[in-house]
Amino acid sequence: MNRVDDNIAFAEDGGQVCSHCGGVLAAVGEPHLHRALIRVGEVSLAGPHVRAADPPVVDEEVQFRQLLCPSCGTALLTEIAATADRDTRTASVTARTSRG
């Protein structure tokens, strides 16, 4: 079976599961990472290297966002994005068995 990425594998039925703990991330037919949890907060959550611009340089709020496996808390997507933007990064991959 192929996979989506380092963290997201396909279940037998084509749904998405966490490749580390097997937790269900999206059932068949559900959108990408539908069952992931989301954590948001100050940009500094990304680490000491990401600083909120002071003084601010844009007139929009930006935030730290992270999608997590609901079972093991593995980070599936980590980004700094505009608070107003949803679904900044998505994927939709066809499940496929590997070639011989």
């Binding site: 954590r39 680490g47 930006v62 992270q66 609901p70 900044t88 939709s92």
Partner: protein, 666 residues
């Protein structure tokens, strides 16, 4: 105030015309050499390889020649130039290993010339055309100047050669030709559509004068013009030898085969990868000095079977500022990413590769702007951001299959941190200089390897930054430090490459201050995104410390090794600013690293310990982001402590998280 469209400028807004149509249009006024499918099939493996290798060799020779002949450090060191061999209709067959983004534009200029100049003034043997109009093609902003020439065999137009290089100054309001206050192209260098500057082998002095008249540094621009003319001549000599030896049909057949080959190889790779769709966004903060808008370039990559479709629907409309790029910039953002992701072992024949690519992009958007939007920074703003978002999407695609996974890379050096200084040097002579250090950005992490630390930028496989001593010799500067910056690499299971910082003061300038132009994005939102859960790299930070006590401290035998040690008035730079740097000021610029791959809590703890020892991460990041605990004395990993810390961090994450489905839709 939004830019008002200019009627009459439509003819210069180019999107490459399909081959058959182009042949028909140009064929009315110039005889185009071609071969049929049978001739292409008839080339034997030996001849194919010998001619192919020769074409590659010629391109390499031309690139090296341009580098040696150029007077521009941006060419020689930053490698912001390239050379291409194209067939009779401008399809690129071989390109050099320099700035690959430029090769997404030079073919456009050739094709436009075939359509619009074949009748009047005509395209004849010994002609060469000059172009720096990014709407037509040739380059990604006005500084990129293309010089391309038709090669005739008998009376048939057989091929084109083309050289393009960034020129140091071509006019406009500010030195270097990008003005941070620009609201439209009329603030900037004048875009010049293709003009026949060499006619029948003779460089036309009148056109050369018109060309150089706009520049603050006409001598250097003239030098580069000759370098490009020379390279085109040399290449055509070599191509003529090749045609004499093997015959025009055979050489053309090989060119066709190279394109077919590149196409087939890329399609084969794509076929092996699962179908899917990946979308991402690249942000840019601010379009010009004083602008506080956040801009988005949105890309959805759809792969079906053997083709790639880059759809930029959702991208912001063009801005009043200097960061827009033309359609050449969309292609210029795609080309380096595709070449590095899919063509590491495939001929770099862009025309063949592009057969696998479809682009949906709306004119009037920030990376496909209409005239007269400002574009002077386009190459390192919207085109660069396009490259980022394309690289992210491609990374997602490649990650799905074990064969393609080795070519995944997180985003490299998310933006160009420009510091341009102008003033009088230590000898009293005027100078203009761009601080090249910022090119040493971190490369994105791979799926099985960290990103290269201070490795460079994604659009140029080579390039270099000057030694500190060369900079201090040439310009009135003294560096307190130039170093890698801990933590600047995006955390991940594999760490993004670190970027670095330079901190310097004015030293022995004949004038008490220098002009400073700052232009760098990635301050609100870091532009080197991570992949597969990987964290982004650092936000960019540029600041001046005014009225600093550095000189007194130096006199007292102390050199600051951190910003905290420098006492003075901190002025954080916005994304664009024109200002000055005085004798009592310190300037600090910290450029970006590369995005990480995978969850940092999954990184091998021994690798984190090694990173700590090597200064790539700080203790704080090791503990809080990577969740690794080490023994205080030895620095070796405390396995139990790490397990527990990581368990805690995961629990903390989950505790502060909510289900996605509970968030209101956009």
């Amino acid at each position: 105030m939004p830019v008002t469209p200019v009627p009459g400028s439509e003819k210069f807004s180019y999107r490459p015309t399909p081959a058959a149509q182009l042949r028909e249009i140009a064929g009315e006024h110039v005889r185009l050499h071609t071969v049929d499918a049978a001739e292409v099939a008839a080339v034997d493996p030996l001849t194919y390889e010998v001619v192919r290798h020769r074409l590659e060799s010629i391109t390499h020779e031309m690139g090296e020649a341009i580098k040696r002949m150029s007077g521009s450090v941006i060419v020689t060191d930053c490698n912001d130039f390239n050379f291409a061999i194209m067939d009779e209709i401008g399809d690129e067959v071989e390109i050099g290993l320099y700035n690959t983004a430029l090769c997404a534009a030079i073919d456009m200029a050739v094709k436009w010339t075939l359509e619009h100049r074949a009748a009047n003034p005509g395209i004849k043997p010994g002609d060469m055309f000059l172009c720096n109009d990014p709407w037509v093609g040739g380059g990604l902003h006005q500084n990129d100047t293309a010089l391309f020439a038709p090669l005739f065999v008998g009376d048939e137009l057989f091929a084109w050669t083309g050289a393009v290089a960034h020129q140091i100054d071509l006019g406009g309001v500010s030195p270097g030709s990008w003005s941070v206050k620009s609201t439209d192209v009329f603030w900037e260098s004048l875009p010049t559509p293709p003009v026949k500057i060499v006619e029948g082998g003779v460089l036309r002095s009148d056109i050369e004068d018109v060309w150089l008249r706009r520049s603050r540094m006409p001598a250097l621009v003239g030098l580069d013009l000759r370098a490009k003319i020379g390279a085109n001549h040399m290449a055509q000599e070599r191509l003529n030898e090749l045609v004499d030896r093997y015959g025009a049909s055979t050489v053309k057949a090989v060119m066709r085969r190279i394109l077919d080959n590149a196409e087939q190889r890329v399609r084969a790779k794509l076929a092996a990868i699962p179908d899917g769709e990946w979308s991402a966004v690249a942000y840019q903060d601010s379009a010009r000095e004083g602008d506080e808008t956040l801009y988005r370039i949105v890309c959805t990559l759809r792969k079906q079977g053997e083709g790639l479709h880059f759809d930029f629907t959702g991208t912001d409309p063009q801005a009043d500022g200097l960061i827009n790029c033309t359609h050449a910039g969309v292609r210029g953002g795609i080309t380096p990413a595709v070449l590095t992701a899919l063509c590491g072992d495939v001929p770099w024949a862009p025309a063949g590769v592009f057969r696998c690519i479809e682009i949906t992009s709306e004119p009037g958007t920030i990376n496909d702007c209409t005239f007269p939007a400002g574009i002077s920074k386009g190459s390192v703003a919207s085109a660069w951001a396009t490259l980022n978002v394309v690289q992210e999407c491609l990374g997602g695609m490649l990650d799905t299959h074990e064969d393609s996974r080795p070519n995944v890379t997180g985003v490299c050096l998310g933006s160009w941190d420009l510091a341009l200084l102008a003033g009088l040097d230590q000898r009293g002579a005027p100078f203009v200089s761009m601080v090249g250090d910022a090119m040493a950005g971190g490369f994105g992490a791979r799926s099985d390897l960290d990103g290269v630390d201070t490795g460079g930028m994604a659009g140029a496989p080579m390039g270099r930054i000057p030694d500190v001593e060369m900079t201090e010799f040439s310009y009135p500067m003294l560096y307190l430090w130039r170093r890698e910056e801990s933590d600047s690499g995006g955390p991940g299971r594999f760490r993004g490459g670190v970027g670095g910082s330079s901190c310097f003061v004015l030293h022995r300038s004949a004038a008490p201050a220098v002009h400073l132009v700052v232009s760098g994005g990635g301050k609100a939102i870091p532009q080197s995104s991570g992949i597969s859960g990987g964290y982004p790299a650092n936000t960019q930070l540029d600041l001046a410390i005014r009225g600093a006590d550095v000189r007194a401290k130096l006199a007292a035998g102390h050199i600051a090794t951190s910003l905290d040690e420098i006492v003075g008035q901190r002025e954080v730079m916005p994304p664009h600013l024109e200002t000055v740097l005085g004798e009592e000021d310190v300037y600090y610029m910290a450029w970006q690293g590369g995005g990480g791959y995978g969850d940092p809590l999954l990184r091998d703890p021994a690798a984190v310990a090694a990173d700590l020892r090597a200064g790539k991460v700080t203790a704080g990041a090791a503990a809080d982001v990577y969740g690794v605990v080490t023994w205080p004395g030895s620095g070796t990993v405390d396995a139990d402590g790490t397990d527990e810390r990581r368990r805690t961090l995961r629990a903390d994450r989950l505790a502060s998280a909510t289900p996605r489905s509970e968030r209101s839709p956009r």
